[in-house]
Symmetry: C2
Subunit: 334 residues, 2 copies
């Protein structure tokens, strides 16, 4: 333990005595404002304000407070290397969608984002174009032929593309307790013409994990836990805004009621069938499901400019006296 | 999995498509409003509103969001039967103090409450009046002579009193990995005259557990992690409002900077020294530290009435159109 921990604060700080419903918030913010990190101070001040206002507006009972503590512990304890219950909680509360929208606003004409979800991993194998990324013999084979372009229609080569989907039973590989090698996931790279293509299976709708505290919460709220069929994609290349998105199959029964709010009209696609010529070219059977999609990336600069502009507009509308430092709001005290 | 989970919602619910920064909040609230539990709906609506407003006002970055997810997981995973990091988090953010104040308002003349903290256990031995509740030979012996009365000064018999404090090294028994029997904690009962008395040690100031994520947060915020010396008390008897409180020693270096905001002027006490007559009566050495305190309890009815009145006043002041059902606010839609 460092010596500073032993040293009581000198005079000048707030006197933390006789704190009440009415004065606890400014005093907590004051004692949290001793660091020199303006962003940390601002984020904590807003967090404490909202947390306290929530308790005051609901007159949160001691039993409800303890239920929340118990719920949060259960979320933390069910987490593992392959399960993230807090991302799931953020997803079902709409926070993930919101944070993605704030950070990755998409200029007209570029591909919209969708939620990352809790099932992306970092151990997916890097595969050559044309490879098969599934080991599920029960799935309906699907060929995907895709491209990546910039907003002017120029192909973008050398983009790392993370792709992941469930198996035909609606489970990601990490949800199987006997998971060996990664399956239904891979990393590819776009070629000189910005293309990438792979063999997968037709995605199916599936329930998000509902055997944990988040599933119990959805049940209490009378919400179902299903996501419409989709394939996840994540695109990364230096200088380009990271795009986390997914493509959704039109006509899925959960198309307009996704448990995690991820569906956008522009991301709903129709599958086609592979014709004879394509079958021959890509080495698949004629009549195989075909997913064709052109993704459009924006540069980091385009996104940063748009994000800054939207942030400035929003904060002005909220009447908050803030300035952007490193693209993030802090109080404007100058 | 029940069948209802498989059934997509019928028409009439919100269409969850193309959700944005501006429409995610009302749509999340709408999809969360399908249960018949008015209180649950209201609490969730306020939670989602504050969570989303927090993200919008801070333009929360993806990295900050992920840091929060990682922090919450770490809090959950360090929790055990004898450690509750989320209560600690609630304590250092001022939420515990606030929730206690909302739920246990104290009429003039009754003993004020203080934070429960994360170290109360349910395995403390029940001891007879006069017993020793410590096994620490290093502590400075202290005799405590206390009484419990109602607001009219009448003794209250048969009150269960939970008492706990740290050992002389500033650790609760549960913080020792080799903990055997409970120590420095006990449960007593007030006698026919409302009295209880026991042998303990003079409390010392101590740091809250700072080897976990909450400790790291305090460090980042430039806050110390110390609590002033105190003894915890919790009083329970049917028909009486549960009182969770603590007595703090005057002159402690952390008297006005308690890391968890628990200190109230009315709970700061001076220790005395046992005189010859008292030493003889209670079987301790003359000059032993002496804690004398009269606690004043309120009835459940007194507290409920005051709580309801304060809640109604506060909600009116906030301009929220609410009514109290089972003492808790829900929207007044009639």
């Amino acid at each position: 333990m460092s010596n500073t921990l032993h040293t009581p604060p000198g005079p000048g700080g707030p006197e933390l005595l006789d704190l009440t419903i009415d004065n606890i918030t400014p005093n907590t913010i004051l004692i949290n404002s001793q660091s020199s990190n303006a962003r940390l101070k601002y984020v904590l001040a807003r967090l404490v304000t909202h947390l306290h206002d929530f308790a005051r507006e609901t007159r949160l009972s001691t039993d409800e407070w303890m239920a929340a503590i118990t719920f949060l512990i259960a979320c933390g304890q069910i987490c593992s290397d392959v399960r993230n219950e807090f991302i799931l909680l953020s997803d079902v509360l709409g926070l993930s969608l919101l944070v993605d929208n704030i950070n990755h606003p998409k200029p007209q004409g570029s591909t919209e984002g969708s939620v990352l979800g809790p099932f992306h991993t970092h151990d997916a194998p890097t595969l050559e174009n044309g490879a098969t990324m599934t080991s599920d013999p029960e799935g309906e084979p699907m060929l995907a032929i895709c491209s990546v372009k910039d907003t002017k229609g120029k192909p973008v080569a050398g983009v790392k593309v993370d792709i992941w989907e469930t198996d035909s039973s609606g489970h990601y590989d990490v949800q199987h307790s006997d998971r060996g090698e990664p399956s239904e996931r891979c990393v590819m790279e776009t070629d000189a013409e910005g293309r990438f293509w792979f063999k997968a299976i037709k995605p199916v709708s599936y329930p998000i994990p509902h055997d944990g505290p988040v599933g119990k919460l959805l049940m209490m709220l009378g919400r179902h836990c299903w996501r419409p069929a989709h394939v996840h994609f994540m695109f990364g290349k230096e200088g380009w805004d990271r795009l986390t998105t997914a493509l959704y199959l039109r006509g899925d029964p959960y198309e307009t009621s996704d448990a995690v709010f991820g569906v956008k009209k522009s991301l709903i696609i129709d599958l086609d069938r592979v014709d004879a010529a394509t079958a021959n070219e890509y080495g698949v059977k004629e009549g195989t499901w075909l997913l064709k999609q052109d993704f459009v990336l924006t540069t980091e600069q385009e996104t940063a400019d748009l994000r800054d502009q939207l942030a400035a507009d929003a904060l002005k509308k909220l009447g908050l006296n803030l300035k952007l430092v490193d693209h993030l709001p802090v109080p404007d005290v100058d």
